[in-house]
C-alpha cells in the first residue's frame, strides 16, 4: 500500500438544526486502500459519505478528496470519484449496454472507448447473452456487479459504495468483493459502508461510527486485539452498545 493520502478530513461536521449527524470527523484514507465505514443505522455514515461525494454541504470542517478541496473544487472532485448508492442505481428500463453507454456518456468518455470498455465489462461479468436485455430482468447479484463496474467505468481515483451488497446472497457477495479487490489492485481507493461484519473483515482498515463520532479506526486485526475479542461482530457490539441514538 502506498502512502499517498486520497481522502483527508478534518473536523468535518454536519448539523441538521440541533441534530449533529456527523461530529468533527477526522481521518485519512490512502491510495488503493479498501476503507470500511461501519456504524449502526443512524450513526451518521451516509451523511458523512454524502459530504465526501459532494451531495451534501458540510456545516463546518475541512476535507480534501483526490487532491481537491470539498468546499471550492466540487466539480473537480466529481470527475475523480465514482459512486454506487444504497438503492440500486442503474436504469431498470434500459438494457445493460444502454446503461453502460449512458454512464460512459455523462462522464464524457469517447464512443469508441465506451464500446471497448463496455465489451470488456460484459465479457468479464459473463453477460454476453444479456447485453441487450433490460436490466430489470437480471438477478440482483448481477445488477450489483454491473452497477459497481459502471461506477468505476471512468477510472475514478476513489469509489464510494453505500451498502453495496444489501440483500445479496453470500456467494454473490464474495464475487462482488473479488471485483472490489481487483479495483483496489488497480489503485482505485474503495470507500465502503456496510452492515455485514464478514465484509468488514475484508477491508484493509475500518472506522466505527457511533452517534456521529468515529469511535475506533484501525485494521480489523488490531481492533479485535484492542477489544480482546475474536470477531468483528463483538467489536461492533462493544462499540455500538454505548450508542444513545435510536436506530432508524
Amino acid at each position: 500500500m502506498e502512502n499517498e493520502v486520497v481522502i483527508k478530513t478534518e473536523n468535518l461536521t454536519k448539523a441538521f438544526g440541533d441534530f449533529i449527524a456527523a461530529n468533527a470527523i477526522t481521518f485519512d484514507v490512502y491510495k488503493g486502500e479498501i476503507f470500511g465505514f461501519l456504524g449502526a443505522n443512524g450513526a451518521g455514515k451516509t451523511t458523512a459519505m454524502r459530504m465526501l461525494c459532494g451531495l451534501s454541504t458540510p456545516t463546518s470542517g475541512k476535507a480534501n478528496i483526490a487532491g481537491f478541496d470539498i468546499w471550492t473544487q466540487t466539480e473537480e472532485i466529481k470527475k475523480h470519484i465514482g459512486y454506487m448508492s444504497q438503492k440500486f442505481s442503474l436504469y431498470e428500463d434500459l438494457t445493460v449496454r444502454e446503461n453502460i453507454r449512458f454512464f460512459g456518456g455523462i462522464y464524457g468518455l469517447k464512443g469508441k472507448e465506451i464500446r471497448q470498455k463496455g465489451d470488456a465489462i460484459i465479457k468479464k461479468l459473463g453477460l454476453e447473452n444479456e447485453a441487450k436485455k433490460l436490466v430489470k430482468s437480471l438477478p440482483l447479484g448481477w445488477k450489483q456487479k454491473l452497477a459497481f463496474s459502471i461506477a468505476i467505468f471512468h477510472e475514478p481515483k476513489i469509489v464510494f459504495l453505500d451498502e453495496p451488497t444489501g440483500g445479496v446472497d453470500p456467494v454473490t457477495r464474495r464475487q462482488f468483493w473479488d471485483l472490489i479487490y481487483e479495483a483496489s489492485e488497480r489503485g482505485i481507493t474503495v470507500f465502503v459502508t456496510t452492515h455485514y461484519m464478514d465484509e468488514a473483515e475484508y477491508c484493509n482498515r475500518i472506522s466505527m461510527m457511533v452517534d456521529g463520532v468515529i469511535k475506533a479506526l484501525d485494521s480489523p486485526k488490531k481492533l479485535k486485539e484492542n477489544y480482546g475479542v475474536e470477531t468483528m461482530d463483538e467489536v461492533f457490539y462493544e462499540l455500538a452498545r454505548g450508542a444513545q441514538r435510536k436506530a432508524d
Partner: protein
C-alpha cells in the same frame, strides 16, 4: 455536448420503453379531439355589446332601452362608423353588435316591416348562439308589445351574422382547449414524474455525483418532453385541419411561438412540482390537481367563464392556460396578429418567468 446526447438518448429510451405512457402521450390528443366535440352551453350574463344606430329614432331607442334593461347585456358604447364594428370586436371584449338601419322606425311604421342586424363573435359558438337568441327575444318582445297596443301586424326581422366562425363549429372552441390541456399534461406531468422517478430510484444521486451539471440534468430532461409536445401540437393541428375542417387563419409561426411559451411555463411548473414531491404518485397527484383540473374548469373551453361566480373568475386569471386559450383562439380562429394579443402574451410570459425563477431557486443541487 456528448454528455447531452447521452442524456437525450436515455430519456427517449425511457419514453419509448414505457408503452403505456407512450400510448397515453399520443393517444390522448386524438381521443380528446374526438371526445370534446360536445361542448356545453349555458346561460350568459352581462355580455358586452355595441350598438350601431343609423336610425336614431324613437323605435330604435326603445329597443336599445330594452336591451339595456336586460340582464344578459351591458351596452359598452354606441358607435357611428362601420369600421368600428370590426375594431371593437378585435380590440375589446365585445360579444355582439346590434345594427339598426337608417329609417328603422319609419320603415316599421309605414312598411310594417323593418330589419335589425345582429353580429356576433362566433369564435365561441356557444356564447354566440345563446346571445343572438337572447337579443332576438328582446326584439321580439318589443314587437309583441307594439302589436298589442296598436293592433297592427308590425314585424321586425332580425338578421344574424356570425363573425369568424360562420358555421358555428363547436370544434373551434375546444381545439385550442385541447391543445392547452395536452401540452400541460405532457410537460407538467411527464417532467415532474420523470425527475421524481430518478429521486425515487436513487439514480438522481448517481447523476448528482457525476460531473454532469445538475441544471443540465433538468434541462436535458425537459427538452425531450418539449419536443414530444411540439410533435403533439402538430398532430392536433393536422387532425383539426383535415378531420374537423378547422382553419388556421393566423400566422402558424406565431402560434408555435406562443405554444412554446406555454410549454416553457408548464416545464417550469413540472420542475417545481418535482422539487416539492418525493414520490411519483405525489407528483402525479400534484400535477393532476394543480394543473389539469384548473385547465379543464377555468380555461373557458368547457364551461364559459362568464357564467362562473366572480371568485372563480378571479382565480381563473392565474391559470396560464386561460391566457393561452385566448391567444390560440385569436390566432387560429380570428386570424389576429401579435398586436392583438400582446397583452395576453405579456401575462403568459410573466407567469412563465415567475414559475421558472421559483422552480430554479427551489431546485436543490445537493440532496439534503
Amino acid at each position: 455536448m456528448k454528455q447531452f446526447i447521452a442524456f437525450f438518448t436515455k430519456e427517449f429510451l425511457h419514453v419509448f420503453r414505457d408503452r403505456k405512457t407512450l400510448l397515453l402521450l399520443f393517444g390522448l390528443p386524438v381521443v380528446q379531439i374526438v371526445l370534446f366535440g360536445f361542448a356545453l352551453s349555458n346561460e350568459i350574463k352581462n355580455s358586452k355589446i355595441v350598438i350601431f344606430d343609423y336610425a336614431k329614432d324613437a323605435t330604435s331607442r326603445k329597443i336599445i332601452e330594452k336591451l339595456e334593461v336586460s340582464k344578459s347585456f351591458e351596452i359598452e358604447k354606441n358607435i357611428t362608423r362601420v369600421e368600428d364594428i370590426d375594431k371593437s370586436f378585435r380590440a375589446e371584449n365585445i360579444k355582439l353588435a346590434i345594427v339598426f338601419p337608417a329609417n328603422f322606425g319609419e320603415d316599421l311604421v309605414h312598411l310594417k316591416n323593418a330589419s335589425v342586424q345582429i353580429i356576433a363573435d362566433a369564435s365561441d359558438p356557444n356564447t354566440a348562439n345563446t346571445l343572438t337568441s337572447y337579443a332576438t327575444n328582446v326584439i321580439m318582445s318589443y314587437q309583441k308589445e307594439m302589436m298589442q297596443t296598436r293592433n297592427i301586424p308590425y314585424s321586425i326581422n332580425t338578421e344574424m351574422r356570425m363573425l369568424y366562425n360562420p358555421e358555428l363549429k363547436g370544434t373551434t372552441n375546444f381545439v385550442p382547449g385541447v391543445m392547452a390541456l395536452v401540452m400541460l399534461l405532457i410537460c407538467v406531468l411527464m417532467t415532474s414524474v420523470s425527475i421524481v422517478r430518478e429521486k425515487e430510484n436513487g439514480t438522481m444521486e448517481v447523476l448528482l455525483v457525476s460531473p454532469f451539471n445538475p441544471f443540465l440534468v433538468v434541462i436535458s430532461k425537459a427538452i425531450p418532453y418539449l419536443i414530444l409536445s411540439l410533435f403533439n401540437l402538430i398532430v392536433i393541428l393536422v387532425l383539426s385541419v383535415y378531420l374537423l375542417d378547422m382553419p388556421i387563419n393566423g400566422n402558424i409561426f406565431l402560434l408555435f411561438a406562443e405554444s412554446a411559451l406555454l410549454i416553457l411555463a408548464a416545464l417550469s411548473l413540472g420542475l417545481l412540482i418535482s422539487t416539492l414531491t418525493n414520490s411519483q404518485q405525489e407528483a402525479m397527484l400534484f400535477s393532476l390537481m394543480g394543473m389539469l383540473l384548473p385547465t379543464m374548469m377555468l380555461t373557458g373551453f368547457m364551461f364559459p367563464l362568464e357564467n362562473m361566480p366572480v371568485p372563480l373568475q378571479v382565480i381563473s386569471n392565474i391559470v396560464p392556460s386561460k391566457w393561452y386559450y385566448i391567444i390560440v383562439k385569436s390566432i387560429m380562429i380570428k386570424g389576429l396578429g401579435f398586436s392583438a394579443i400582446w397583452k395576453e402574451t405579456l401575462i403568459l410570459a410573466g407567469m412563465t418567468a415567475l414559475l421558472l425563477t421559483i422552480s430554479i431557486r427551489k431546485f436543490n443541487i445537493r440532496l439534503e
